[in-house]
Amino acid sequence: MTRRERALRTARRGMIVTAIGLAGLAAAYLWGSIFAPIERTQGPAQKIFYVHVSAAWSTLLAFGLTGLLSLGYLILRDRKFDLLAAASAEVGVAFAMVMLTTGPLWGKPIWGTFWTWDARLTSTLFTFLLFVGYLVLRGALTDFDVRARFSAVLGVMALVLVPFIHVTVLWFRTLHPEPVVLNTEGAGLPWSMLSPLLAAVAACTTLYIGFVTQRYALAVLRDVREEEAAGGLS
């Protein structure tokens, strides 16, 4: 099987996984919005939390894997790690955007303002910008070996930075406590709400895998085309 054929097969499998993920997500959200009980203090607006928390999980997964794959590339220098890390970063940025839009949408009906510098949302914002920077750096480097090396360096730095950002923002917020909009602590969450949430998280994980697989396959196809254009080692 040629590299191109393998990539096309990977893309097809990715599409199937994505489709399963989307179906699962739709089911989980329907469950959460229609069948799960309405939260006492926050009302129906709280149900956006199913979208928000599952997206948060996928964001964390995506960025964490980008960091680890970057480390893997630096150690093994295998381009697959680089292409996967980049795919994961793009998917992570997409999920982060979902988080950053659903968070304020959740906040507005409950607290009256869209943005309250909530610790988790603020951390997400900085992390989002960090990985947007990662993608911008990749876009600015044309030689793919240099791009892979430099992105990997930035990816490892980013992995170590994220906990620091989280702690910094948290400490800052404990000094200036403002309404905690996103009470996502599992403690005290009844099973009737926890189960659709877990379903949504599982579906989002599946969706993450599907997206990354497809994005990775696309990157490989692009690489194959460039390789053909340049001629090989004859």
Partner: protein, 225 residues
């Protein structure tokens, strides 16, 4: 028999998807000078950069024993510093004692009256000579030249040829990439022909003149490497 100063085995290097060096295998003995001849884009500069350790091979291997000096198109020095300051800086990076070798080399390369001037004002010939001085600071076992005579007037060229001869007598291994065969064909023992990233042949010059070497190159280039 002593080990070769430079040995490459199936050396290959790419930039992106483009293979610029393909399976280059050659050896250079201490005290030997080898010319590298080839068209633009044939890979001469890349080969020299791999030998210098500036690029790693993607496939194959290279062994270079001893210290390496290189004189290339870019001076690799700082315009805002004087000639003496540039040399002293590189001396420090090599851990060399300040034993007056900076002044001696500047003298040797005919730059004594410009020693305290910033090199931003230097001509091409002066820069080339200063680059050679910098490379000689650490008494290299291997010297790599990338088009050493380009843009030089006769006087400067003669100084460079003198340095090459001196290095040969000191048993340094030399690799000289060049288009200017007339001046250099007498200096080297062997010549390597690069065609589209491959070392098409490497053979003794055997008394051929510049014209003879060019003819041989055209033969090999026509064969497509």
């Amino acid at each position: 028999m002593t080990a070769p100063a430079i040995r490459t085995r199936d050396l290959s290097r790419r930039f992106g998807h483009r293979w610029v060096l393909k399976n280059v295998s050659m050896e250079v003995e201490p005290g030997e000078a080898v010319l590298l001849v080839g068209g633009n884009g044939a890979g001469k500069t890349t080969l020299l950069r791999v030998m210098a350790g500036l690029l790693k091979p993607n496939r194959g291997s290279i062994e270079c024993s001893g210290s390496v000096g290189m004189v290339a198109h870019h001076t690799m020095m700082y315009d805002a510093l004087t000639a003496a300051e540039n040399l002293a800086f590189f001396g420090r990076l090599h851990g060399l004692p300040s034993d007056g070798r900076v002044d001696r080399l500047i003298e040797l390369l005919g730059l004594a009256e410009f020693a305290r001037e910033r090199i931003a004002t230097f001509s091409r010939g002066m820069l080339q000579r200063l680059a050679i001085a910098r490379s000689l600071m650490h008494e290299p076992d291997v010297m790599l030249f990338d088009e050493p005579l380009t843009g030089l007037d006769d006087a400067a060229a003669r100084i460079v040829l003198g340095v090459i001869a001196e290095l040969e007598s000191r048993r340094a291994a030399l690799v000289i990439a060049t288009h200017q065969l007339v001046e250099l064909v007498g200096v080297a023992a062997r010549v390597g022909f690069m065609v589209q990233g491959r070392l098409a042949a490497i053979e003794p010059i055997a008394g051929r003149d510049a014209g003879g070497v060019v003819t041989r190159y055209r033969e090999l280039a026509a064969d497509g490497g």
